[in-house]
């Protein structure tokens, strides 16, 4: 299969994930659209060095996240970042208006606002959790061992649970 055909196949399978992820890494809709394009460029470019060293899914996620994080860091250099860790946001998430009282668009907006405040390393974990990757898949994308991922994953799930109003 040629690189272009391979790219088309991957873009078809993971295009929606890439577009969602771009929204998670960039709050401005126009810039998010540019970021989507940049991720696709890197995906197309990196296909020449893909030799099944990991699963196709992990590969695409790695590229998308790395481009996303690079983008966030470049933007942070221009505008002072207002990042917070998962624990801090977990407290904020529970304090807000009850999740059930909001409609889906409002919940999505609130979710994105929280995601945009996360530090890049925490943001990766939360986005991968939202994309429903397993702990093993997340470890593969992040490049950490399963134990280190389990700790981060636990914090990410607690944040999402706090958002859903699930904290007892």
């Amino acid at each position: 299969m040629s690189r272009d055909d391979r790219y088309r196949q991957l873009a078809g399978a993971y295009g929606a994930m890439i577009a969602r992820l771009a929204r998670g890494y960039e709050r401005d809709a126009e810039k998010a659209r540019d970021l989507v394009q940049t991720i696709h460029v890197e995906l197309w470019r990196s296909l020449s060095s893909f030799e099944n060293q990991c699963s196709e899914k992990s590969w695409v996620h790695r590229i998308a996240h790395n481009v996303g994080v690079s983008h966030v860091i470049r933007e942070a250099r221009a505008n002072a970042p207002d990042w917070a860790g998962i624990e801090e946001l977990e407290r904020v998430a529970g304090d807000d208006c009850p999740e059930a009282a909001l409609n889906q668009a409002q919940r999505q907006a609130r979710l994105l606002t929280l995601i945009h405040r996360l530090k890049p390393a925490d943001r990766q974990i939360v986005l991968l959790t939202l994309e429903d990757l397993t702990a093993t898949e997340i470890a593969d994308v992040i490049g950490l061992n399963a134990n280190a991922v389990a700790v981060r994953l636990h914090r990410a799930k607690a944040l999402l649970a706090a958002m859903a109003g699930d904290i007892k």
Binding site: A16, V41, L43, F50, H65, N66, L111, Q124, E131, I142
Partner: protein
């Protein structure tokens, strides 16, 4: 209770279809061109200063002036070497694991912050001997009266000192912003 995963998955994605590979190839080429062009500009600016001051050094009327102009050209050469050695940007490889890429980014930002913090020593200091001697050259070569020579030397050194101080402050401020970004990545 609502499920944030469901909310996340139902976010509208208008750009989900992917792109034409030919368009992506053009864009990839254009990215590479931007990086090459930026590096070229850095070296061309240094080359221009070296050529100009080197040429003036051969045409100078006095020995001190000639040495001063040659020292400025030499300062530009040292600064260009420092840019090449310390400032050439590295681009994290997209296919690295996410944690390694983040680590790479931190390393790159650390490098750039150190570079900005060291501007005084690496880029400004090499020019100082040449410019100071250039300010004193009319006095040493005896091409101006003592009063005029001293006055213009003081003025030139004060002006040079102010410019260097200002450039240094700007770079230190940029370095502080980078340090804040690096903190956020920990």
């Amino acid at each position: 209770m609502t499920n944030p995963k469901e909310d996340w998955m139902s976010i509208t994605t208008l750009d989900a279809g992917g792109f034409d590979p030919a368009a992506l190839a053009r864009k990839a080429k254009s990215f590479d061109r931007v990086i090459r062009w930026r590096n070229f500009r850095e070296y061309a600016a240094s080359g221009f200063v070296i050529a100009l001051f080197g040429y003036w050094a051969t045409r100078a009327s006095g020995t001190a002036e000639s040495i001063a102009l040659a020292l400025v050209a030499l300062g530009a050469l040292v600064a260009a070497i420092q840019i090449m050695r310390l400032g050439t940007p590295t681009r994290p490889r997209a296919e690295l694991s996410a944690d390694a890429a983040l680590h790479d980014w931190r390393g790159e930002l650390e490098r750039q912050a150190k570079l900005l913090e060291g501007v005084r020593l690496n880029y400004l200091a090499p020019f100082c001997p040449g410019f100071v001697l250039l300010a004193l050259a009319p006095l040493i070569d005896g091409t101006s009266s003592l009063a005029v020579g001293v006055a213009s030397a003081v003025l030139m050194i004060a002006l040079l000192g102010s410019v260097l101080w200002f450039v240094d402050r700007l770079n230190l401020r940029a370095a502080a912003q980078l340090r804040a970004t690096i903190e956020g990545l920990k």
